[in-house]
């Protein structure tokens, strides 16, 4: 590297951040959103390891050396990643927490092609980039912060993503509108396209084609703008609006839009970032009585017992160990650790996430003829949601099929109490009674 180029390289990466409030706010919002996205993935953990079949993202020669992932293993990594995200959002020292998070996410994403979501791959890259910035700078290791160059690296990374996304659209099948047209399914968008087409006197596909070309140009503009601070006042509103519109169009990309919008905090107008930055919890200090750390670990382990899954001591042990390693010895850090664990427990108990984790395991095992495994999974479904009609019926059918009709009957009876006369439940009960004769 020539001396001039090396000096410019150093100047770019070493220059102080123009508006440091953006970095703290990005940390809070991004890791908060990532905790939600990661936590919601637990429902997909059940698909891993079915039939001990797997294809990883590694080259085939290395793939053969990897053991197949298991559903409980991926569940452990997913829940741990979610907990670590919350810890980082709430100010945990990054030195250990961030590389641990990057390891969890890398393992869940790269271990199997079942996770081929581009935004999950992007999140792996983001956490790896920030891990480098937490580990490779003496000052960052001392303070527990993420060195500012890590966030600069993210800006460059995002510019690269937009540049490649634009390159991918230099394709007649995109610019003609055919590809976008096939992906636009929401009613309001179709109505808007038809109405615009009528007003302009052109075919709806021409309207979509104009939109497709606009998307290409916008992505190319974003690629340049992420690297040009002068354009950030334009980039932030445009970028947020772009990703909100992608979300509104329901293009089946999970939480990609939300995560991207939080990353746009890196180019947020400075006064807004400074104002919102006051909400950011400070990074935890390193000094204090060690007993707080132990107390936090015990508290987190106790909270982890509230997870709705079959008791998993390895997960509880891992959470306690990580808490010992990443939590500052102070009462506020202990409280943040307990809060993070409690939020993950709350998320996993919310809605139907945990129930569906077992339901998907049971459904797959049933289809592949692994009936004892299907019974075990559906017993968990019913434990978690006793009033779930379909779960009761399925468990009744499965227990009958494995010669446990006596155990099956109460589930059929409960199903019929929930939904009297429902044909599937009636048939399942009749089959169970016939098996008892």
């Amino acid at each position: 590297m020539s001396a001039g180029l090396a000096a410019r390289w150093d100047r770019f990466w070493d220059a102080p951040e123009v508006e440091p409030a953006r970095l703290g706010l990005t940390r809070l919002l991004f890791f908060g959103a990532l905790a939600l996205d990661t936590g919601q993935q637990l429902v997909h953990a059940g698909r891993y390891g079915a039939g001990r079949f797997n294809v990883s993202h590694l080259p085939p020669s290395l793939d053969a050396l990897l053991p197949a992932p298991t559903a409980p293993g991926i569940l452990l990594l997913t829940l741990t990643a979610s907990m670590l995200c919350l810890r980082l959002a709430l100010g945990a020292r990054a030195t250990i927490a961030l590389p641990a998070l990057a390891a969890c996410l890398s393992a869940t994403v790269l271990w199997s092609q079942l996770d081929s979501y581009q935004h999950h791959y992007l999140m792996v890259l983001v956490t790896l980039a920030l891990s480098g910035a937490a580990l490779l700078t003496t000052e960052a290791r001392r303070s527990g912060e993420i060195a500012p160059w890590g966030f600069k690296l993210l800006r460059v990374q995002l510019a690269i993503v937009y540049a490649w996304a634009a390159v991918a659209k230099l394709d007649e099948r995109w610019t003609s509108g055919v590809t976008l047209n096939a992906q636009l399914q929401v009613e309001w968008a179709r109505a808007l396209i038809n109405s615009l087409g009528e007003t302009l006197g052109v075919a709806p596909l021409s309207v979509v084609a104009a939109g497709a070309v606009a998307v290409l140009l916008i992505e190319a503009l974003f690629a340049v703008a992420w690297l040009t601070p002068r354009l950030w006042p334009l980039l932030w509103p445009l970028g947020v609006a772009f990703h909100l519109s992608v979300e509104a169009l329901d293009l089946k990309i999970g939480q990609f839009s939300l995560l991207m919008i939080t990353l746009y905090t890196l180019v947020m107008p400075a006064p807004l970032a400074r104002g919102l930055g006051r909400l950011v919890p400070p990074v935890e200090g390193a000094a204090g009585p060690w007993a707080w750390r132990l107390g936090a670990a015990i508290l987190v382990a106790a909270v982890a017992f509230g997870l709705p899954f079959s008791r998993d001591l390895s997960l509880i042990g891992l959470w306690a160990l990580l808490t010992l390693l990443i939590t500052a010895p102070s009462p506020s850090a202990a409280a943040r650790a307990a809060l993070s664990a409690a939020l993950v427990v709350g998320l996993s108990r919310s809605g139907e996430l945990a129930r569906d984790y077992y339901r998907f395991i049971g459904g797959d095992a049933r289809v592949r003829g692994e009936l004892p495994a299907a019974v075990a999974a559906y017993e968990e479904v019913v434990r978690l949601d006793p009033g779930y009609f379909s779960g009761r019926v399925r468990l009744c059918q499965l227990l009958t099929a494995v010669d446990r009709a006596q155990d099956a009957l109460p589930h059929c009876e409960e199903a019929l109490r929930l939904n009297p006369g429902q044909p599937d439940a009636v048939a399942a009960e009749a089959a169970a009674r016939a098996a008892l004769r």
């Binding site: 079949f53 581009q118 480098g132 390159v167 991918a168 659209k169 394709d171 099948r173 992906q183």
Partner: protein, 126 residues
Amino acid sequence: MRARDLFIAAFLLSQLALPLRWYALREADDPFDERFAWRMFSPERMVRCSASAQLNGAPLDLGREFHSAWLTLVERGRMDVVKAVARRVCLTNPGGALRMRLTCREIDGVERTMIEPTDDLCAEAP
């Protein structure tokens, strides 16, 4: 060069090289695998494939052997997965003959046969 600089350089090089691989080095018989290439909403993503298999001359229901999530990847023409599925069937049925047909329809209506049922995939397996 400091560790930080090496890290940044390796990181950025990987982000330039991995997507480039799709454009410059992708295999002709595996056109729909866009992993790591940042090809969001691409035409290839919209491909729909249908697979059928016969083991020793009898129809083989892949849905009874593999999780539906894997079959979704087969239906997207992901050849790594298709080949792994074939390898697994051959491994669990020693001496068997596996024939598959995999036909993919692209967004512009072009239909492409990725695997012809003429060859015994178990005989081809290493």
